[in-house]
Structures are given as structure tokens and as C-alpha cells.
């Protein structure tokens, strides 16, 4: 059975990607992980890798096409002569058998341009909840769930001389993200102060022992955060359809400011890494962000997030929760103050203040 490769979500704010180049042609055999095409958003050019090995059966778009995130870019098959579904939206069986989607599930699949075959079914039929669970886990955003970014008709223009100006892509993206935080998460914030000396000493000793160029303070803090989340899975979850969606891996989102662009880079399966491999993995995605060469894997699927504005000498910042993240920790360390702050925005549907305060107090101490 043919299987589809979908347009990736490069970042949370772009629902459209533009195809820049194909690196394969119909008939080619590609291995899992081979780069098959390049796509571009307003912020980055990203290489798209094959998720599975197989022959390229059909290209569903052309160079310069603008396609919706989640739509089918190309079809692959185990043999070169497999039939390709007529449209990007198909409703055949899932891996285990002939599981048909319900009408509501089919409508959502169509809206997203998703192949029913990629979505696991929990029962005899592929349900709406199955699709919603799948898109939550993969960071795919529904168009009708994106809050309006235009000025409401009921909103009056200020009674001061001026003009309405269209937002640019980044401004629209930020407005969408902030609106998601406002409309979906029950977001609140708390913070704890701590004496940074123990962490600074720990990081300095680690840097010296490993001859590191970059201070490992933030990577070590982030790694400790991952370990605490691993030990307390409750913090590594979100809510979907009124149920708790417990993430299996800890995929750490880590903000990187690259010029004017703020990326949420992602280290996947961070809980499976030892300290130094984690630091190296984080260093790699940071470099890719600066180079504007982030892959889909490095910009999607965050289950937790971390941010620091210590570089800018900020004393407090209250982060916006990335979609489907219930916790984002914000680090600040005003220079010369002798104190540092760990703050956290959290989704109160998932976590209580006690959960978060306890985690922050543990995080304030380096590992023994």
C-alpha cells in the first residue's frame, strides 16, 4: 500500500510551506532519513527527510508550490508499481486492517490533508478523537482552531489619527501563538528565587573537566529539568479532548534567538540521553538555528520547554506556552544581583502550583 510523506510543520507559526526543490524523482528508491526535498517558510529553509524507505511513486506538488502543513508532498511504496490514491485525502485501512474513518474523522482528515493510513485507530473505526490525538502528538494545528488574527469587526479603531497596517508574517505568527495560549491553555505563572552560586560552580567545574567552549550552565539546567520530568511524568503531559495525553518521550523545547527570529528548537527523546550527549545535541540544534538549517525534527514535537533571558539581563519574563506544552520554564539571572530566578508558565488544566513549585525548587539545586 502506498504511503504518504506530509508537509512538515517547520515552526508553530507557519501553516504554509513553499516547495523549493525536489531531490528525488518518480521511480527513485529512497532510504529512511534521505533528504527528498527542501521547503521554505518565512523564517527558514528546511530539508525534508523520508520517514520510511521506499520507491517514489508520485510527486503531489511542484517546485514553488505553496502547500498546507500536513498535506501530502509525495507518495512512496514498497514496490515501484503500487497504485497511488486518487487524491491526497484517502480513507483506506490503517496498518492492522480495514479501519474506516468515521464521517467526522474523514472531514478532519480532509481539512488537514492527512492520509488516514498514518493515523492509528483505537477501535474498529478511526474516530475523530483518534485524529485529534494524532495531530496533538505531532504538533499539527487545525485551521479552524487558529484564532482569528484580523481585527474583529466589533473592535473599534482608536479615536486618534492613524492607519491600519497589515502585520508581517512574524507578527501574525506571534499573534497566533499568543492567541493559542490565551484560548486553549489555562495558563498561569509562578517563580522561585535561588542563589545561583551552586549552579555556577557546578557548570564551571563541568566546563573545565570537559574543556567546553560554551558555558554549560543553561544546558545543564535544561538537562536537570528533563531528568526531573522523567521522574515526574505528570509534568510531561497535555490535555486533549478532556483527557490527559501523557507523552512518552521528553522532547525538550529550548528557545534560540537567531537574529530577529525566535525559534523553539527541540531535542527529541532528551530523557534517553546522558549528560554530555544531551549537551551536544542541544549545541547542535542551536547551531542549526543560527545557520537557519533546522530540520522538521528540530522544530516540532516539544513536550516541555525552557527559555532563558539572562543574556539580556532581564529580571523576569513570563513565557507563552507553546501549543500542547503544559510547562515552560523561564530562567533569569540579573547581573550583579547575586540572585537568579526560575519562573514557569504552566497549564493549570494539567498542573497545580504545587506541582510546579516543587519542580522549580528541585531544579534550583544542581544534581549532587
Amino acid at each position: 500500500m502506498a504511503f504518504a510523506l506530509h508537509a512538515p510543520r517547520v515552526n508553530n507559526n507557519d501553516d504554509i510551506v513553499q516547495v523549493i526543490a525536489f531531490r528525488v524523482a518518480v521511480g527513485d528508491f529512497v532510504k529512511q532519513g534521505d533528504i527528498v526535498l527542501d521547503v521554505e517558510t518565512d523564517k527558514a529553509i528546511v530539508e525534508v527527510a523520508a520517514e520510511n524507505a521506499g520507491y517514489v511513486l508520485k510527486l503531489m506538488c511542484a517546485v514553488d508550490d505553496k502547500v498546507a502543513v500536513g498535506s501530502v508532498l509525495l507518495w512512496q511504496g514498497e514496490t515501484i508499481d503500487e497504485p497511488v490514491p486518487e487524491t491526497a485525502v484517502v480513507a483506506p485501512a490503517t496498518g492492522g486492517g480495514n479501519v474506516r474513518p468515521t464521517a467526522k474523522a474523514r472531514a478532519l482528515l480532509k481539512e488537514l490533508g492527512l492520509d488516514a493510513g498514518v493515523v492509528p485507530a483505537s477501535g474498529d473505526r478511526l474516530s475523530l478523537a483518534d485524529v485529534e490525538t494524532y495531530i496533538a502528538a505531532h504538533g499539527i494545528q487545525r485551521r479552524d482552531h487558529i484564532p482569528a488574527v484580523t481585527v474583529s469587526a466589533r473592535e473599534s479603531v482608536p479615536d486618534v489619527a492613524g492607519e491600519l497596517v497589515d502585520l508581517n508574517a512574524e507578527e501574525r505568527g506571534m499573534l497566533i501563538t499568543v492567541s493559542w495560549h490565551r484560548d486553549h491553555a489555562a495558563a498561569t505563572y509562578l517563580e522561585v528565587e535561588y542563589d545561583p552560586k551552586a549552579w555556577e560552580d557546578h557548570a564551571a567545574a563541568y566546563a573545565s573537566a570537559n574543556k567546553l567552549m560554551l558555558s554549560p550552565l543553561l544546558p545543564l539546567l535544561a538537562y536537570r529539568y528533563v531528568q526531573l520530568a522523567k521522574a515526574n511524568p505528570r509534568v510531561n503531559a497535555t490535555v486533549v479532548n478532556g483527557k490527559r495525553f501523557q507523552y512518552q518521550p521528553v522532547n525538550l523545547g529550548f528557545t534560540v534567538q537567531a537574529g530577529e527570529t525566535l525559534y523553539l528548537t527541540v531535542v527529541r527523546d532528551a530523557d534517553a540521553l546522558e549528560t554530555q550527549p544531551f549537551i551536544e545535541a542541544l549545541g547542535e540544534v542551536q547551531r542549526h538555528a543560527i545557520q537557519r538549517k533546522l530540520s522538521r525534527e528540530e522544530t516540532s514535537g516539544a513536550t516541555l520547554a525552557f527559555s532563558s533571558m539572562a543574556r539580556w539581563n532581564v529580571s523576569r519574563h513570563i513565557p507563552i506556552l507553546p501549543p500542547y506544552c503544559s510547562l515552560m520554564i523561564a530562567h533569569a539571572a540579573p547581573k550583579g544581583s547575586g540572585r537568579a530566578v526560575l519562573g514557569a508558565s504552566y497549564d493549570h488544566r494539567v498542573l497545580s502550583g504545587f506541582d510546579v513549585a516543587r519542580l522549580l525548587m528541585e531544579l534550583a539545586k544542581p544534581p549532587v
Partner: protein, 87 residues
């Protein structure tokens, strides 16, 4: 790309000074053997930018484990590492 050792050193020095200037620091007196992270002229974010610039300027992609004090810690070591890799 000029692979003369003095030219590499001059280019690295200029980049460090530029990055430090962005942070409000004057790094013009940095020594060739000074350990760049220890000087305090540039922070981790700027060191990351320095590394990315270095990879691009000398068309020399680095493995993460190569980004260490021994290879890139000072102006001299950065110049030597280019010549070692390109030599």
C-alpha cells in the same frame, strides 16, 4: 578564503571584536593565546555565533565534539585548527 595563518588570525580577531562590540564590550586588546570564553568579552550566545561564522568562513563543518577549548579556545588555536583540517 585566505588560509595564511596571519590572515586567519586577523579574521578571527576582527570577528571577536565585532561580536564583543555588539555586547557593549571592547575586545581590541584580546591576546592571541587568551582563552576566548574566559576573557568575558563575549558570552555563550556570541561564541555560538563565532563558531557558526568560523564554519562558514572556512567551509569547515564541525562535529559537536570538536567544539572545545583545545581546538577553538583562542585566536591561535582557531587558526591552527583551520590549517590542520585544511592542510
Amino acid at each position: 578564503m585566505n588560509l595564511d595563518r596571519n590572515a586567519i588570525k586577523a579574521a578571527v580577531r576582527a570577528k571577536v571584536i565585532e561580536l564583543a562590540k555588539n555586547l557593549g564590550m571592547d575586545a581590541s586588546d584580546i591576546g592571541d593565546d587568551d582563552i576566548i570564553p574566559a576573557t568575558g568579552y563575549i558570552d555563550s550566545g556570541a561564541i555560538l555565533e563565532l563558531v557558526v561564522w568560523y564554519e562558514d568562513a572556512y567551509q569547515m563543518p564541525l562535529r559537536q565534539e570538536e567544539i572545545n577549548i583545545d581546538n577553538l579556545g583562542s585566536i591561535n588555536s582557531m587558526a591552527d585548527f583551520v590549517l590542520k583540517r585544511k592542510g
